[in-house]
C-alpha cells in the first residue's frame, strides 16, 4: 500500500448494553483502494459502518479521514468531507424521482443552498450540477429511468439509485452496506460491473460490507473478516479466504 491512507480507524469499540458489538477494531483504507468487510451475521459489520459514518458514537477509538479527525463530526459534515454511503435497508426519498435523488445529493454536497436564493427564485440547479447528475445517470445506466419516482423501481435499480446518490458530490470514499442483499444473480452481476466502472472512472475508494463472496472477490483488493466484534483476519482476498480459522468461523457457518 503505497498510496496515502484515506480513512484510518483505530481501536473502535462499541458496546450495546451487555453486548460488545465491536472490540478494538482497526481498519484503514488507502486512497482509491477497495476494502471488503465480511463476517457472519451479528459480527458487527453494520455497527462498524455506523461508527465510521457517525450514526453511532463509538465508546472508544478514533476515526481519521484524510488526515483529519472526524470523531465528533455529525453525519452530514462527514458526507460533505467526501464520504458517501448506502444502506442495508434501502433508504430512498420516497416519492421523488431518480434524477431528483441525485440532484438533492449533488446540491447538498455542494452546500450551496440558501433560503434567500429560493425566495429570489434563484434556487434552481446550476448547469454544472445538472451536468454531473447526467454523468452519474449515464454511468449507472439509469438515464431511461431518470424521471421515474423511486417507489416504482425494482430493488436492483433502487440499489443503483442509492449508489448514484452516494456518488454525487464526488466522494473520495464510498461505504456500501450489503449492496447485493435481496438482489438476484443478474442484478448482482450488473452491480459488480457498474461498481468496477465507477471505480475506474472516478478512482473512488470503497469499503464494502457484503455476504456475496463473488461480488467481494470481483471488487475488493483487501479483506477484513469480523467475528464477534473482533478482526479475525485481514489481508489479500485469496490468502484471507484460505485461512482455516476464517473458513471455520465464516464459511463454515454458512455451509
Amino acid at each position: 500500500m503505497t498510496a496515502p491512507a484515506l480513512l484510518v480507524a483505530t481501536g473502535i469499540t462499541k458496546q450495546f448494553g451487555g453486548i460488545l458489538a465491536l472490540d478494538h477494531v482497526s481498519l484503514d483504507v488507502a486512497a482509491g483502494e477497495a476494502v471488503g468487510v465480511v463476517g457472519p451475521n451479528g459480527a458487527g459489520k453494520t455497527t462498524l459502518f455506523n461508527c465510521l459514518f457517525g450514526l453511532d458514537d463509538p465508546d472508544e477509538g478514533s476515526v481519521v479521514f484524510d488526515g483529519q479527525s472526524i470523531d465528533r463530526m455529525p453525519v452530514w459534515k462527514r458526507s460533505r468531507l467526501g464520504i458517501g454511503r448506502t444502506f442495508q435497508r434501502m433508504e430512498l426519498f420516497e416519492g421523488m424521482t431518480v434524477a431528483d435523488h441525485l440532484l438533492v445529493a449533488e446540491q447538498a454536497a455542494n452546500g450551496t443552498v440558501r433560503i434567500w436564493r429560493d425566495l429570489l427564485h434563484r434556487g434552481g440547479p446550476t448547469p454544472a450540477e445538472l451536468h454531473h447528475v447526467e454523468e452519474v445517470l449515464d454511468l449507472l445506466g439509469l438515464v431511461e429511468l431518470a424521471g421515474r419516482p423511486v417507489d416504482t423501481l425494482d430493488l436492483g435499480h433502487g440499489r443503483l439509485v442509492e449508489l448514484g446518490r452516494a456518488m454525487m458530490g464526488k466522494p473520495r470514499l464510498l461505504m456500501l452496506d450489503e449492496p447485493s442483499s435481496g438482489l438476484d444473480a443478474e442484478d448482482t452481476t450488473r452491480l459488480a460491473r457498474i461498481l468496477g466502472e465507477t471505480r475506474r472512472s472516478t478512482g473512488v475508494a470503497v469499503v464494502l460490507v457484503e455476504h456475496d463472496l463473488a461480488l467481494v472477490e470481483a471488487t475488493v483488493d483487501r479483506l477484513y473478516v469480523l467475528d464477534f466484534g473482533k478482526v479475525l483476519a485481514s489481508g489479500g482476498v485469496a490468502e484471507v479466504l484460505a485461512d482455516p480459522e476464517v473458513r471455520r468461523a465464516y464459511l463454515g457457518s454458512t455451509a
Binding site: F93, E94, G95, G111, D118, A146, R148, G158, G169
Partner: protein, 700 residues
C-alpha cells in the same frame, strides 16, 4: 418540612387523576401505536354522562358505574374499531389529526346527545365533596379528595393484580413490550390491543368523573388541560413504562401544588403552574426518544401502504403516465427533472386541470367582494384571507416539511400582539408592525425549535402543545404582550395618503399580504429547499447522509412558518381592531391543524380554502341556533373520520376525481387514439395509488 407537607398533600388527588390519564395514554400508545389525545374528550363524555345521570335522580354509584364501566369502554371500542385500528402504522400526522379532531368534536357531540349542559355542580362519587372527614397532620381532607385518592388506589391495585396474575395481563404486558414479538408468539395482538383500549378508556372515564367535582361547571376545556398533564406524565414514563407514568402523573399533581404554594402569588406563580407540563416535556422528551428503539423488532415493520405513508403534497401529487414512459408532475412542490431521450434535462411542471377552475372561483370571489357583497360577508371573507395566511404557515411546516406544530395559533397571537403594541406604544405603522410581528414570531420559533426539533413527529407535536399552553399562561397575560383579558388594540394601517381603514381597501391589502405569503411558500417549495424537505420526509437518515443538515433545515422552516403565522395573526388583529388571548388560545392551534389537514396540506389552494371554510364555519356556529351549531361539530367529527382514508385532504381527492373524469372524456373523444384508459394517470391520492408495483413494494 411541614409546610411542604401542607402543600403536597392537596396535590395528591390531582396527581391521582393525572396518573390515571398518563397510564391510559401509555397503555394505548404501546398496545395500539396511537397516542390518543382524544382521551381528554373521552374523560369529558363520561363526566357529562355521570353528572347528567345524577341530575336526573340516579344514585351516584349507579351513575358512576354507567359512566365509567359502560359509556367509557363503548366510546373507546367504537373509536378503536372505526378509526385507530386502521392507522396503526400510519405517519405521525395521520395518527395525530384524528385524535385532535375528536378532542374538539367529541365533547360537542356528547353535549348534543345529552340535550343540555347539567346545571348542578358535579358531585363526588362518594361522600360529601366539601365535607372534611379527617385531618392528615394539619391538612384537612375533604370527601372529594378522599374519594379521588381511594378510587385511584383501588384502580391501581386492580390493574396490578390484572397484570401480575391473569393470562390477559401477561399478554398485555407482552404487547406493551413489543406488539410484533407477541404476534410472532401466536397471540392475537389485535384482541389484546382492543382490551387495552377498553381498560384505558375506563381510566380516562374514571379520571373525568373524579375530576369533574373540582370545577363548579362542566367545561370541555378543563378536560383538555387534564389531558396535557396526563401527556406530561406519559412522557415521564417515556411513553413506555406504566409504573413510571403512574408516578409521573402523581408527581406532577403534587409538584403543581407545591410550586403554587411556595411562589408568591402573581403572574409568574399563576403562570408557572400550568406551564409545568412544558418544562417536564422539554426535560423528558429527549429521554423518551432514546427508549423507542428498545423494541427488538422495531424497524421490522412492514412498509405502510402508500396512501397512509404519504403525508401530503409530493406523493399524492405524483402521477405516472405509464403510456409514454415519462412522468408528469401535477403537484406544485417542485419541478421534476425529466431526462429526455437526447439526455437534455428540462423542467416540466404540468398544471392541474382544476387550477384554472380555482383561479376563476378566486377572481369571481374577489370581484364580488369588492362590488355587491354585504359588509358582514366581506368581513367573513377577509377573516378567511387572514386565516389563509396562518394556514399557509402549516402548509409550509406540516405539508412540506412533515413537522407537526400545535402552537401555530400562539405564533399568530404573538405576531398580532406585537403589531398592536408597537403601534400603540411607539407609533409604528401597522404594516411595519405586521412585519415586526412576523419577525418576532419567527425569532420565538427559533427559540422553540432549538430544544424541540431534535425530536420529530409525535414528541415535537407534544412539545409545541406544551409551549402553546405556556404562552397562554405566561406570555399572553403579560401587559407587554397580550395584556390578559382586555387584549390589545391593533389599528388599521394607512400608508401616507392611502388609508386601509375601510373594509374594501383593507380587503385588498389582505389579499396582497396573502399573495406575498403564498409566493414565499411557493418559491420555497419549488426551490431547493422544497427538494431538500421532500428528501428529509422520504428518509431523514439518507438526507443526513448526503450532506443535508437536517436539524438546521428544520429550524429554518419552523422559524419561517412561525413568521408567516405571526403575519397572519397581525393581519387578523388589524382586521378585527383588537386581539385578546382567547383569539389564539392553544386549542385553536389544534383546530387549525385539523381543518387544514382535512382540506389539504399539499397546496396553496388548500390553505386558502381552509381559511374560507374555517371562518365560514365559525360564522355558522355563532349565527345558527345552538342546537344546530353542534351539528358543525358533528360534521367536523365526520370529516376527521374520513381523513384517515384520505390523508392528502379532500381538495386533492376532488381534483383527482375531476382529473380522471376529464381524462376519460378525452380518451373517449379520440377515436383510434391511444386506448390506454386503463393506463391513464391514476388520480392522485385515490385508491389507485395504493396499487404500487409489487416489486417496488418488496424493495421497501
Amino acid at each position: 418540612m411541614s409546610q411542604f407537607f401542607n402543600y403536597a398533600v392537596p396535590g395528591v388527588p390531582f396527581g391521582c387523576v393525572f396518573a390515571l390519564m398518563s397510564v391510559g395514554l401509555v397503555l394505548t400508545y404501546k398496545a395500539s401505536g396511537v397516542f390518543n389525545l382524544a382521551f381528554g374528550a373521552q374523560a369529558f363524555v363520561s363526566a357529562l354522562a355521570y353528572v347528567s345521570l345524577v341530575q336526573d335522580g340516579w344514585p351516584r354509584w349507579a351513575a358512576t358505574v354507567i359512566a365509567v364501566a359502560v359509556i367509557g369502554p363503548i366510546v373507546g371500542i367504537v373509536l378503536d374499531r372505526l378509526l385507530f385500528r386502521r392507522i396503526r402504522t400510519a405517519s405521525p400526522l395521520v395518527k395525530l389529526v384524528p385524535s385532535l379532531g375528536l378532542l374538539v368534536a367529541l365533547p360537542q357531540v356528547a353535549l348534543i346527545i345529552a340535550g343540555s349542559t347539567p346545571t348542578i355542580p358535579p358531585p363526588a362519587i362518594v361522600g360529601d365533596a366539601q365535607h372534611v372527614y379527617l385531618h392528615l397532620g394539619s391538612v384537612p381532607l375533604s370527601g372529594l379528595e378522599l374519594s379521588i385518592t381511594v378510587s385511584t388506589i383501588v384502580v391501581v391495585a386492580v390493574l396490578v393484580a390484572l397484570f401480575r396474575f391473569t393470562p390477559v395481563g401477561l399478554e398485555m404486558r407482552a404487547v406493551v413490550e413489543s406488539p410484533r414479538m407477541t404476534e410472532l408468539a401466536g397471540i392475537n395482538a389485535g384482541r389484546i390491543s382492543a382490551f387495552a383500549w377498553i381498560l384505558s378508556s375506563m381510566m380516562a372515564a374514571l379520571a373525568g368523573v373524579l375530576l369533574s367535582p373540582l370545577y363548579s361547571q362542566l367545561d370541555p376545556q378543563n378536560f383538555t388541560v387534564l389531558l396535557v398533564w396526563g401527556v406530561a406524565g406519559a412522557v415521564i414514563g417515556r411513553f413506555a413504562s406504566l409504573p413510571l407514568a403512574l408516578l409521573g402523573g402523581l408527581g406532577l399533581g403534587v409538584a403543581q401544588q407545591v410550586v403554587a404554594g411556595y411562589l408568591p402569588a402573581g403572574v409568574i406563580a399563576n403562570g408557572l403552574r400550568p406551564s409545568l407540563p412544558f418544562v417536564v416535556l422539554l426535560v423528558f422528551l429527549p429521554l423518551a426518544r432514546q427508549r423507542q428503539i428498545d423494541d427488538p423488532l422495531s424497524g421490522c415493520d412492514p412498509p405502510s401502504s402508500a396512501v397512509e405513508r404519504g403525508i401530503t403534497g409530493y406523493r399524492s401529487a405524483t402521477t405516472v403516465a405509464a403510456s409514454e414512459g415519462s412522468v408528469h408532475t401535477v403537484g406544485v412542490w417542485h419541478q421534476r427533472l425529466d431526462a429526455l431521450p437526447g439526455g437534455r434535462m428540462t423542467g416540466i411542471l404540468t398544471r392541474r386541470p382544476t387550477a384554472t377552475f380555482s383561479w376563476v372561483v378566486a377572481v369571481v370571489a374577489v370581484a364580488s367582494a369588492l362590488t355587491w357583497v354585504p359588509p358582514d360577508w366581506l368581513l367573513t371573507m377577509n377573516q378567511g384571507v387572514a386565516f389563509a395566511v396562518i394556514f399557509l404557515s402549516l402548509t409550509l411546516l406540516t405539508g412540506m416539511s412533515g413537522q407537526i406544530s400545535l402552537c401555530q395559533a400562539t405564533f399568530a397571537g404573538l405576531g398580532g400582539f406585537m403589531a398592536g403594541q408597537l403601534a400603540n406604544h411607539f407609533g409604528l405603522p401597522v404594516v411595519l408592525g405586521m412585519v415586526a410581528g412576523g419577525l418576532l414570531a419567527g425569532a420565538l420559533g427559533v427559540l422553540v425549535a432549538v430544544p424541540t426539533l431534535r425530536l420529530a413527529g409525535l414528541p415535537l407535536a407534544l412539545a409545541t402543545l406544551a409551549f402553546a399552553l405556556l404562552a397562554d399562561n405566561i406570555l399572553f397575560p403579560n401587559s407587554w404582550i397580550g395584556n390578559g383579558a382586555s387584549g390589545v388594540t391593533v389599528p388599521r394601517p394607512s400608508a401616507g395618503p392611502v388609508s386601509f381603514a375601510a373594509a374594501k381597501p383593507f380587503f385588498v391589502l389582505s389579499l396582497g399580504v396573502l399573495a406575498v405569503a403564498a409566493g414565499i411558500v411557493k418559491l420555497v417549495g419549488d426551490g431547493t429547499m422544497g427538494r431538500y424537505l421532500s428528501a428529509v420526509r422520504g428518509s431523514e437518515l439518507a438526507a443526513n447522509s448526503v450532506g443535508i443538515d437536517v436539524y438546521r433545515l428544520r429550524i429554518l422552516v419552523f422559524a419561517l412558518s412561525a413568521a408567516l403565522a405571526g403575519v397572519g395573526g397581525a393581519l387578523f388583529g388589524s382586521l378585527e381592531g383588537s386581539l385578546s388571548a382567547n383569539d389564539f388560545g392553544y386549542q385553536i392551534s389544534a383546530v387549525l391543524l385539523v381543518v387544514v389537514a382535512i382540506v389539504g396540506l399539499g397546496s396553496i389552494t388548500g390553505a386558502v380554502v381552509a381559511g374560507v371554510v374555517y371562518t365560514t364555519l365559525q360564522v355558522a356556529v355563532t349565527s345558527l341556533p345552538t342546537r344546530f351549531a353542534g351539528l358543525v361539530a358533528v360534521l367536523f367529527g365526520l370529516a376527521t373520520l374520513s381523513y384517515t382514508r384520505h390523508p392528502e385532504g379532500f381538495l386533492d381527492v376532488l381534483s383527482g376525481r375531476v382529473q380522471s373524469v376529464v381524462a376519460e372524456r378525452r380518451a373517449r373523444r379520440l377515436p383510434g387514439g391511444p386506448t390506454g384508459s386503463g393506463r391513464r394517470p391514476s388520480p392522485p391520492g385515490d385508491e389507485a395509488t395504493r396499487d404500487t408495483d409489487p416489486v417496488a413494494e418488496g424493495a421497501g
